[in-house]
C-alpha cells in the first residue's frame, strides 16, 4: 500500500490546518502544506507529491501562476493539480482547466468528504495516464 502524498498550498494558516485534518481522516493520505507559490515550486520538486491542492488567491505568485511554473519544470510538469478556490465562476473554471488543472474544488468544502473527493480526481488522472 503506497501512501497518497498531497501537497497543499494556501496562504491562510487556518485553512491549512482544516485541510490537513480532513485529509488525515483517510489513513492512506500523507499531507504537507506550504503558504506560498514559491515554496510550492521547491517542495513539489523535492517531494514529488501524488497531487497538489492549490489555492487561487495568494499574494505575489497566485495559484494560476504557480501552476504555469509547475508545468514548466520537468520534475513537476506531470503532477496533477486541483484548485481550491473561493471564487468558482464557470469561465474561471474553464480557464483553470485550460491551464492544465485536473479540476476545481470550491471553498468552503465539506471537510468530512474532502479526502474522497481528492481520491476521485486522482483515479481520473491515473486513468488518463493509462492511455
Amino acid at each position: 500500500m503506497t501512501a497518497i502524498r498531497v501537497l497543499h498550498v494556501d496562504d491562510e494558516a487556518d485553512v491549512r490546518v482544516v485541510v490537513e485534518v480532513s485529509l488525515g481522516l483517510d489513513p492512506e493520505f500523507r499531507t504537507r502544506a506550504c503558504a506560498s507559490g514559491a515554496d510550492a515550486l521547491v517542495m513539489a520538486a523535492d517531494w514529488s507529491p501524488s497531487l497538489i491542492l492549490l489555492d487561487v488567491m495568494m499574494p505575489l505568485m497566485d495559484g494560476p501562476a504557480t501552476l504555469v511554473n509547475l508545468r514548466h519544470d520537468p520534475r513537476t510538469a506531470h503532477i496533477p493539480v486541483l484548485f481550491l478556490t473561493a471564487r468558482t465562476q464557470t469561465h474561471q473554471i474553464e480557464h483553470f482547466i485550460s491551464l492544465g488543472a485536473q479540476g476545481v474544488l470550491s471553498k468552503p468544502f465539506d471537510a468530512m468528504t474532502l479526502a474522497a473527493l481528492v481520491r476521485s480526481h486522482l483515479s481520473i488522472s491515473a486513468g488518463e495516464h493509462a492511455f
Partner: protein, 619 residues
C-alpha cells in the same frame, strides 16, 4: 469629469447636430470623437479610453440590442447612453437592461438635457461598478473565514477529533448548522449578482428529469431530516420526460423549490414531488403542507429578499433569495416557475420546461417558403437560434437547427444545405471537430461554413491555419448585417435565383410588370431606398428621378452592392433629369415615349449582361 466622448452614429447630420449642441455649452470642453460604424468604434475602444459612449443602435454593421451588447463588450467599464428614435421606447427599455445607463430620444434632445444625461450616466455606471465589485469581493472575503469555520465544525461534528459529550455536541450542532446557512446565503448572493450581471453561462443538453429530481431529493434528504420532514417522489408512471436544459442549473431550481417547501413544512410532515408531462412541456411540482402564502404576499414571492414575515428569515433559516434565483434560472431556460394553493392547505410550486421533443420538433423550419434556400444553424441556445431564424427569414432563408454535433451530422446528410453556421461550443464537443467531419462529406467539401462564437479569441488561429476552409467568423451576438453580406456571396443563394431589382418609384403598374422577371423591392422615397440598400444586395435599380429631384442625383453614386460594386441603373422618368454624366447609369427611358414593355425589355437585357460579366469575374 467627462473629458473624452465617443459618438457612434452613422448619420452625419445627427452627428453634426450633437457636436454643435455640445459646443454651445462653453463650460463644457470634452473632446468628441465621431465614428460611423461599430467596427470602427470597437477598434477605437481597443486603443483609446473614453469617459462615455453615445450610441445610435441603428448602424450599418450592428443593430438594436446587438449594437448595445457589442459596445458594452468592447468597453464594459465605460458608461453608455443610447440615442433612440421616437418610436423606440421598448428598445430604450431593453437597452437599460443590457447595461446602458440612459437613453436620449432623437429630435427631443436639448443641450442641458444631454449634459445631465452624460453626468448621471457616468455616476450611475460608477455606482453599478462599485456595487458589483463590492458584492463579489465581500462574498469572497466571507468565504475564506467560512472555509475554516465550517470545515472545523464539520470535522468536530463528524467525530474527527473524537466522541463529543452530549451537551457539547448539541451546541456544536447549532454552530455547524448556522455556518452552513451562512455558506448558502453567501452562495445565493453571489449567484444572484452573477445572474443580474449576465455572467452565468448556460450549457444546454438533453436532461432526463426523473433522475435529476431523484438527485435533488437525495441532496436535500439531510436538510429535510433537520426539519423533521420527509420527501416523497410520487410514483406515477410517466412516459420519458426529457427536457432541454442546463442540468446543473435545473438541479439548482429543483433544490431551491425543495428547500423552500422543507422550511415551511410543519414537523413530521411530508413534501411530495411529482413529475408531469404535457404536450410540449415537462412540469415538476413540489407540494408542501405549510401555512400557505398570504394573499398580499403572492405578488412579491419571487422578489429578492422577500419573506412574508420579517421574522421568517430567521425562523426558517433562508436567505430570501432561493425562489428569486429559481425564477431567474427558469426564465433563462425558456421555462417558468409558479405556484398554486393546494387543496387542503399548503402550496404547490412548479417548474415547467420545454420538453426535448418539442424543442427537437422546432429543429426543422416548416414555416419557410418551400423554395427558400436552406441553412443549418448548429447552436445549442434555443433563444439565440430562434432569433436568428426569424431574422434570416426576413431575407428569404429557411433555417434548420441542430443542437449537437450528432444532430448536425444527421441533418447535413438528410438535407443539402446551402450554408452551415457553426457555434464552436456545442454540448457534445467542439464545433471545429464538426467542421472537420462535414468537410469529409463529399457534398459539403466546398459549402460555405460560417463560425459563430461567443469567444472572439478561441480557436480562431486553429481555423485560420487549418485547411477547413471556413468562410468567415462572426462573434456573438451575431451582427446581422455582416452575416447577410456573407450569405450574399456567390454560391450561397441559388445560382438560378431570380434577380433582385430595387424600384424607386410610386408607379405600381411598373412594379407589377418588373415582378414578372425579377423580385422587386419598391420604395417611394430616397430614404427608403437607402434603407433597402443597407438590407440587401440588388442586381439592378430602376429609378424615377422626378420622385425627388433634389435627392435623386445624390442616390446614384450610393447604388452599390455590399462588395462595393456599382449596381446598373435604368432611369424611367416622366422627364429627363440631369444625370447623364453619371457612370452607373446604363439606360434612360422617358415614361412619355416608352412603353412599359420596352422598359421590361431593357431591364432584362441589362440583367443578362450583368450576370454574364459577374460569372466571368468569379474565380
Amino acid at each position: 469629469m467627462i473629458k473624452a466622448i465617443l459618438l457612434v452614429e452613422d448619420s452625419p447630420a445627427d452627428a453634426r447636430l450633437l457636436r454643435e449642441m455640445l459646443n454651445e455649452q462653453s463650460s463644457y470642453n470634452a473632446e468628441l470623437t465621431h465614428v460611423d460604424c461599430m467596427s470602427a468604434a470597437e477598434k477605437y475602444l481597443a486603443e483609446r479610453s473614453v469617459d462615455i459612449i453615445l450610441l445610435d443602435p441603428g448602424l450599418p454593421d450592428a443593430q438594436g440590442l446587438g449594437a448595445i451588447r457589442r459596445a458594452h463588450a468592447a468597453a464594459p467599464r465605460v458608461p453608455l447612453v443610447v440615442l433612440t428614435g421616437l418610436d423606440d421606447e421598448s428598445l430604450a427599455e431593453q437597452a437599460l437592461q443590457e447595461g446602458a445607463q440612459d437613453y436620449l430620444i432623437k429630435g427631443q434632445i436639448e443641450t442641458r438635457g444631454i449634459l445631465r444625461a452624460l453626468r448621471y450616466a457616468t455616476e450611475r455606471k460608477r455606482l453599478e461598478w462599485l456595487k458589483d465589485e463590492f458584492v463579489s469581493t465581500v462574498s469572497h472575503e466571507l468565504r475564506t473565514p467560512l472555509t475554516s469555520i465550517a470545515g472545523s465544525l464539520g470535522l468536530l461534528m463528524g467525530n474527527a477529533a473524537g466522541d463529543l459529550p452530549a451537551p457539547m455536541a448539541r451546541l456544536l450542532a447549532i454552530a455547524h448548522t448556522n455556518s452552513q446557512r451562512l455558506v448558502r446565503l453567501v452562495n445565493d448572493i453571489l449567484d444572484i449578482e452573477k445572474m443580474e450581471a449576465g455572467r452565468v453561462v448556460f450549457n444546454f443538453k438533453r436532461v432526463e428529469v426523473r433522475s435529476l429530481v431523484e438527485q435533488a431529493i437525495e441532496a436535500n434528504r439531510g436538510f429535510a431530516e433537520g426539519y423533521g420532514v420527509r420527501i416523497r417522489l410520487e410514483d406515477v408512471l410517466t412516459a420519458v420526460a426529457d427536457v432541454r436544459a442546463d442540468p446543473d442549473r435545473l438541479l439548482q431550481v429543483v433544490t431551491n423549490l425543495l428547500s423552500n417547501a422543507i422550511k415551511f413544512s410543519p414537523r413530521d410532515n411530508e413534501v411530495v414531488v411529482a413529475i408531469g408531462k404535457g404536450i410540449d412541456i415537462v412540469r415538476v411540482t413540489v407540494r408542501d403542507h405549510g401555512p400557505g402564502i398570504p394573499l398580499d404576499f403572492k405578488p412579491l414571492i419571487f422578489e429578492k429578499f422577500a419573506q412574508a414575515d420579517a421574522r421568517d428569515a430567521r425562523q426558517k433559516g433562508g436567505s430570501g433569495l432561493g425562489l428569486s434565483i429559481a425564477k431567474q434560472i427558469a426564465d433563462r431556460l425558456s421555462g417558468e416557475v409558479g405556484f398554486t394553493d393546494a387543496v387542503g392547505g399548503g402550496t404547490i410550486f412548479h417548474v415547467e420546461l420545454p420538453c426535448w421533443h418539442h424543442v427537437a420538433g422546432l429543429a426543422i423550419d416548416r414555416d419557410a417558403k418551400p423554395d427558400a434556400p436552406r441553412l443549418l444553424l448548429c447552436e445549442d441556445d434555443l433563444d439565440t437560434a430562434l432569433t436568428l431564424r426569424e431574422q434570416l427569414k426576413q431575407i428569404g432563408f429557411a433555417t434548420d437547427f441542430a443542437y449537437t454535433i450528432h444532430d448536425a451530422l444527421i441533418c447535413a446528410v438528410a438535407t443539402r444545405y446551402r450554408a452551415i453556421l457553426v457555434d464552436l461550443q456545442l454540448p457534445d464537443g467542439d464545433g471545429i471537430s464538426l467542421i472537420v467531419r462535414l468537410r469529409e462529406l463529399p457534398q459539403y467539401r466546398d459549402t460555405s461554413i460560417i463560425v459563430v462564437s461567443a469567444d472572439p479569441s478561441r480557436g480562431r488561429d486553429d481555423l485560420r491555419s487549418s485547411k477547413l476552409n471556413v468562410l468567415d467568423w462572426l462573434n456573438k451576438p451575431v451582427d446581422l448585417g455582416r452575416l447577410m453580406r456573407m450569405l450574399a456571396k456567390p454560391g450561397v443563394r441559388d445560382a438560378n435565383r431570380r434577380p433582385r431589382i430595387l424600384h424607386v418609384d410610386e408607379d405600381q403598374v411598373v412594379a407589377r410588370a418588373l415582378s414578372e422577371i425579377a423580385d422587386v423591392v419598391t420604395v417611394n422615397s430616397i430614404e427608403d431606398a437607402r434603407r433597402a440598400l443597407k438590407a440587401g444586395d440588388f442586381d439592378l435599380a430602376v429609378l424615377d428621378v422626378t420622385l425627388d429631384k433634389a435627392a435623386s442625383p445624390d442616390l446614384l453614386p450610393e447604388l452599390r452592392d455590399s462588395s462595393g460594386n456599382a449596381i446598373p441603373v435604368v432611369i424611367f422618368s416622366a422627364e429627363r433629369a440631369n444625370t447623364a454624366e453619371n457612370a452607373h447609369e446604363q439606360a434612360a427611358l422617358a415614361k412619355s415615349h416608352s412603353s412599359i414593355d420596352s422598359l421590361v425589355a431593357t431591364v432584362r437585357d441589362r440583367l443578362a449582361s450583368r450576370s454574364a460579366s459577374l460569372s466571368g469575374e468569379t474565380v
